[in-house]
């Protein structure tokens, strides 16, 4: 049996990104969507370098070489990562060049064709050239500052037999690509391509000896990752003080160049040779997002989010009435997220509603939710908004609308320094017959109308008092009133959530040991936690059947003899990003079902405020159970065997989970 017991975090993530990339190969997927997945893979990878690889390099430079739970030292991890990345980049180029480009051609979409260069000459002169400013390099002035993830050309030029070096930065101001129409064809030229083709027009009266395109990636300098151990943190912090100014973690070069130039780049950027990645292909795929075609067949077929039957006439009636008799459960995007917004809307306009509390994490600027909250506050309702600013890479965005809310008179609090608020819920307090009644909405996904169309998430609305009481406490917790509460109905990280999970697993283990039936089915984004992994191994060994549906990274090694035979791990990748966390424990027939915002990762358990909520309403429970079963039989899913993912079986009883739901959402609920 393998000497290591867990997958490595970084490699496991790369595997996930590989599955994303693979989606671009999937013949059943419309062409332009496939193209998009190439871009996604690329931008994912960029972020991965800026954060994860940066982290690894910091550890290495800090001289920290303690193996992680996959028994790999930072150095080893980095090497493996580099290998995997190079492979995937090669694969990406191959898919792009040899599969997608030709197929696009068939559909009349041409990307960087040689033929039509003449047609873009004036684009170059009018739009591009004015913005280009070559910088001559000499011993005096070193390489100019180039923004993170910005492409640039390195050019070797000659004038009367004297050699010069120059840097030509590609301005971010310009569009990544230019489109021209030719008959019924759409022709796309990427900026980088155009500039390269007209390079000699930039360096007039020079003779260009050779040139290449490069792009560097910088350490995002995010706060050091919480799942790191104490001593590591110290090591890092100490090191950060004396880290050299340069923090380049990757330098991509689009072609093979001779070692002299490699050395130059190493010197210029003050990096190591193994920070350099020769792509032999595009180094910037982001232009793909600019490709827009009219032909419907090139895209996923549009769909109309359904309204579940049991609330068909919700528009005519009032949510508060409906909720008297039943809870509401929805599954985005198959069900319409607007229902939730309608609920909020009704609350905002209902004169009996006294107060509204909500958590906002990532949301869209033109968000209807924000407008409604403003309105509510202006109507004199007590509105409290808990905002998490640490949503990676969109802090700026966050603040702008946060200010709007404050100006409208909402009570806005910004969560904690050290703990990230990941729970998503809304509390509505309403006066009914002189008595307070409370309603809560608990969701696995953000209050974001845009992502609500792409992410799959569970929405749950109830007036169950015990639940409401604890959500009230949760808000008091998040708003910094206190962190001393009893959590019975709702499990909350970092307080009780891990404990609950562990207990539930142990409970199955016990039942199995007693010879009773024991089963765990968990759908998550990622699992990466030693304790939980061990618990699951233990359960498996005691005979608990465990099915895990984990979209992203996963520390578990399933199907290992004497360790995890009873564990299966599947991963669904599709047009929608699987985001809902749903847990099922057989619990000796009680069949307990939970929804949660928390992945099974150290940071979710210990460094974030997350919710784990048991769904008891019969309908909702059955619905969730059905979902899990269907998901388990997803033909598009991958299965993890030990440390490698393989495509799930294609045989008949399997079908595409997401497509099935698109068609039948309203059938099963």
């Amino acid at each position: 049996m393998s000497s290591f017991l867990y997958n490595n975090r970084e490699l496991s993530w790369l595997d996930f990104n590989y599955r994303v990339l693979d989606f671009a190969r999937n013949a059943n997927v419309p062409l332009l969507e496939r193209l998009k997945f190439v871009a996604i893979h690329a931008s994912n990878l960029d972020e991965f370098f800026m954060v994860r690889v940066a982290g690894l390099k910091d550890q290495i430079d800090a001289g920290y070489n303690v193996p992680d739970m996959s028994l790999k030292t930072p150095k080893q991890q980095f090497e493996d990562v580099r290998k995997k990345v190079l492979v995937q980049v090669k694969l990406r180029n191959d898919i792009f060049k040899n599969h997608l480009i030709p197929q696009c051609k068939l559909k009349g979409i041409l990307i960087n064709p040689k033929e039509y260069l003449a047609q873009i000459e004036d684009i170059f002169y009018l739009d591009i050239l004015p913005l280009l400013t070559p910088v001559a390099l000499n011993n005096v002035n070193k390489i100019p500052f180039i923004q993170n993830l910005t492409s640039a050309f390195f050019v070797e030029i000659e004038k009367n037999s004297e050699l010069f070096y120059s840097i030509l930065i590609i301005p971010n101001a310009l569009p990544k690509s230019f489109k021209i129409k030719n008959k019924n064809q759409s022709i796309y030229y990427t900026l980088n391509y155009i500039v390269e083709k007209f390079l000699n027009r930039v360096y007039t009266n020079y003779n260009i000896k050779q040139s290449f395109l490069f792009r560097h990636t910088r350490n995002a300098d995010l706060p050091i990752h919480q799942e790191f151990s104490e001593d590591l943190l110290e090591a890092i912090e100490h090191y950060l003080d004396l880290r050299k100014k340069s923090n380049v973690v990757r330098l991509e070069i689009d072609r093979e160049i001779d070692s002299a130039f490699i050395q130059k780049m190493i010197d210029y950027f003050d990096i190591e040779p193994d920070d350099i990645y020769i792509t032999n292909g595009l180094i910037d795929y982001s232009f793909i997002y600019n490709i827009a075609e009219t032909k419907k067949s090139l895209y996923f077929s549009p769909f109309k989010p359904a309204t579940p039957n049991y609330i068909k006439n919700i528009d005519k009636s009032s949510f508060f009435d409906v909720l008297k008799s039943q809870d509401i459960i929805l599954f985005r995007p198959y069900h319409d997220f607007k229902i939730v917004i309608k609920f909020l809307e009704e609350a905002v306009r209902d004169k009996n509603v006294l107060s509204i509390k909500i958590t906002l994490y990532r949301t869209n600027d033109d968000s209807k939710i924000i407008e409604l909250l403003e309105e509510a506050a202006k109507n004199g309702k007590h509105v409290s908004v808990v905002i998490e600013l640490k949503a990676r890479f969109d802090e700026q965005k966050n603040v702008s609308w946060a200010k709007r809310l404050e100006n409208a008179g909402c009570v806005v609090t910004y969560g904690f320094l050290d703990i990230k608020i990941h729970a998503k819920c809304m509390l509505i307090v309403r006066k009914e017959f002189g008595q307070l009644v409370r309603y809560v909405h608990i969701s696995t996904g953000n209050y974001n109308e845009k992502t609500a169309l792409v992410y799959t998430d569970i929405d749950y609305i109830t007036k169950d008092e015990p639940t409401c009481q604890e959500i009230v406490n949760l808000f008091n917790y998040m708003m910094g009133y206190s962190d001393i509460f009893e959590w019975k109905r709702v499990s909350v990280a970092p307080k009780t959530l891990r404990q609950t999970i562990v207990e539930m697993i142990d409970n199955e283990t016990k039942n199995a040991q007693k010879g009773k039936k024991a089963y765990i089915l968990a759908k998550l984004n990622s699992i990466y936690d030693k304790q939980i992994s061990d618990k699951l191994y233990e359960a498996s060994q005691s005979g608990v059947k465990i099915d895990l549906i984990v979209r992203g990274l996963c520390s578990i090694l399933p199907k290992v003899k004497h360790m995890s035979e009873n564990i299966t791990v599947k991963s669904t990748i599709g047009r929608f990003l699987e985001h809902a966390r749903i847990l099922y424990f057989f619990d000796n027939g009680k069949e307990r079902v939970f929804i949660s915002t928390a992945d099974w990762m150290v940071r979710n358990f210990d460094k974030r405020i997350e919710i784990l909520y048991e769904v008891k309403d019969k309908r909702a429970k059955n619905f969730l159970k059905t979902l899990l079963k269907l998901n388990l039989n997803d033909s598009a899913a991958w299965e993890l065997i030990k440390d490698t993912y393989i495509k799930a079986h294609k045989d008949s009883k399997f079908f595409n989970f997401q497509e099935f739901l698109l068609k039948n959402a309203s059938k099963i609920l």
Partner: protein, 504 residues
């Protein structure tokens, strides 16, 4: 409590707590409970005052709480109560002022006795057979972080009441730099001293039950978690021994206690242990209701005590015994006062509460003799003033004290400046009470109950008091002459005493 929301905030020694409840048809629904830890006690109990930082923190927390009040629109329907941490702080007035200006909340300090009473009612309402206990003899101990309050009840009256500054936080702080070797000894001696004082002053042999409340309980139950609301001496002792033998960190870890909690459990356990031992009882009952809950029930008036006046009177009588009160006389005076009160309703228009004051004054007017024969009225005044019996409001005490002070002709009410501050109508009713008291007292001037009873007849010209006496009440007549002046002055009608010998 009328329907609506009510909030109670308690600024305690180790935390600030808030509870918001909804009342509908006098049933309470708890809407929110918040605990924000803040160790004000550490400041007060160690430094003697509250540091500015802590005051700032408090203000921050409370201004958040204030938002809650706004959320429920109950800015004018709450109580914010400070306990020992503030009460004992030298700069409490600064503190209060600081908080009010920063938060615009009205916060008040609850005095020890009142605090005891709130807790007492809390227990009364949460412990089964509580009344039975206090009839047959019970000891009530409230151990909170600031103080230990003890009251001993027998036949439903307090025979002993006292608050000791040995709250578990205080004790912990007192000995925190002591090395563990003697720590236990330290706590033990500390408590044994208190136990002695209690033994010395209270009749503990009569105690059959022990009832306990206070924040200490929450900590204690964390560890013992008993099935019922009963903790046995055995369990307690076992726990104490085990703590003694194991090291605190370990111990704390076992029960998920913080370092401090772990070290504070020691004084808690020992305190209760020692009390049980003193009483030699096998176990005690407890209520784990927090003080905030008790306050909530108290201020929402959901606690009711029947026949308060009678209770108060009994309390006073019991209390007066300690000062060798001549009860024969006192009760006689009480009786006359009662007759006068009932017969002269049309004239005096005194409230039930003022009757209570009159009654109490009848009992207490002569206790001062114990301190000294000269100026006994002043001593009576002093003794009355220093009554601290849970359930008897400060106001009542003050007026009773005033009455006993003025029950002798020596002192005239105008003389006493401290009373001139009182509103005029108060002074008037006070004068009425005194007038009645003086007459009643005069009617047993010889302390020999020569006059058995009186008849009262009102006419325009006079109030005819016919005394049925065994012999000629020479002294009574004399004193009556001296003492009826106030009555005439206050009621504008003259009382006349007529003697009717019983055997004629």
């Amino acid at each position: 409590m009328k329907n609506g929301y009510f909030s109670v905030i308690n600024i305690g020694s180790s935390a600030i707590r808030m509870q918001i409840s909804e009342f509908k048809n006098s049933t309470e629904t708890v809407l929110e409970t918040i605990i924000t830890p803040l160790a004000l006690g550490i400041d007060t109990f160690e430094k003697g005052y509250i540091s500015l930082e802590k005051a700032k923190e408090t203000a921050q927390i409370l201004s958040k709480y204030a938002l809650k009040l706004d959320e429920y629109k109950i800015r004018n329907n709450y109580k914010a109560i400070c306990t020992s941490a503030i009460r004992d702080a030298q700069n409490k007035y600064f503190f209060i002022n600081y908080i009010t200006t920063k938060t615009h909340l009205d916060i008040e300090i609850i005095d020890e006795t009142h605090e005891m009473y709130v807790k007492y009612l809390g227990l009364k309402n949460s412990i089964k057979n509580f009344d039975k206990f206090s009839k047959e003899g019970s000891l009530i101990a409230c151990l909170s972080s600031g103080s230990l309050s003890i009251s001993v009840k027998e036949n439903e009256v307090d025979t002993f009441n006292s608050v000791f500054n040995v709250g578990y936080l205080r004790q912990y702080l007192l000995f925190k730099d002591v090395d563990d070797a003697i720590k236990f000894k330290a706590y033990e001696e500390q408590i044994d001293k208190i136990i002695n004082t209690i033994k010395h002053n209270a009749n503990v042999s009569a105690v059959k039950y022990m009832v306990v409340c206070g924040s200490s309980i929450n900590l204690l139950t964390k560890i013992i978690n008993p099935k019922s609301n009963k903790i046995s001496y055995k369990a307690l002792n076992a726990l104490y021994q085990s703590i003694k033998s194991s090291n605190l960190e370990l111990f704390g870890a076992n029960y998920h206690l913080t370092q401090n909690e772990a070290s504070m459990i020691v004084p808690i356990v020992y305190t209760f242990l020692a009390i049980l031992k003193m009483l030699n009882l096998k176990s005690f009952l407890f209520s784990d209701a927090t003080f905030v809950q008790q306050l909530m029930s108290y201020y929402s008036k959901s606690f009711k005590e029947k026949s308060v006046n009678k209770k108060i009177l009994n309390q006073i009588i019991a209390y007066s015994k300690k000062y060798n009160n001549d009860l024969k006389h006192a009760k006689k005076v009480l009786h006359f006062a009662d007759r006068l009160y009932t017969e002269l309703k049309s004239i005096h228009s005194l409230t039930q509460k003022e009757k209570t004051i009159l009654d109490a004054a009848c009992i207490l007017h002569d206790v001062g003799y114990y301190i000294g024969v000269n100026n006994h009225h002043q001593h009576s005044y002093y003794i009355a003033k220093s009554i601290n019996i849970p359930g008897i409001e400060r106001e009542i005490i003050d007026y009773v004290a005033a009455c006993v002070l003025f029950h002798r002709n020596k002192v005239k009410i105008e003389a006493e400046d401290e009373l001139l501050s009182a509103p005029i109508e108060k002074i008037l009713s006070l004068k009425k009470i005194i007038a009645l008291l003086k007459i009643a007292d005069a009617l047993d001037a010889s302390h020999t109950q020569i006059i058995e009873d009186i008849d009262i007849l009102i006419s325009e010209s006079e109030i005819k008091i016919t005394a049925i006496a065994l012999k000629i009440p020479f002294l009574e007549e004399l004193t009556f002459k001296h003492k009826c002046a106030d009555f005439l002055e206050t009621f504008g009608i003259e009382p006349k005493l007529y003697i009717k010998l019983k055997y004629e």
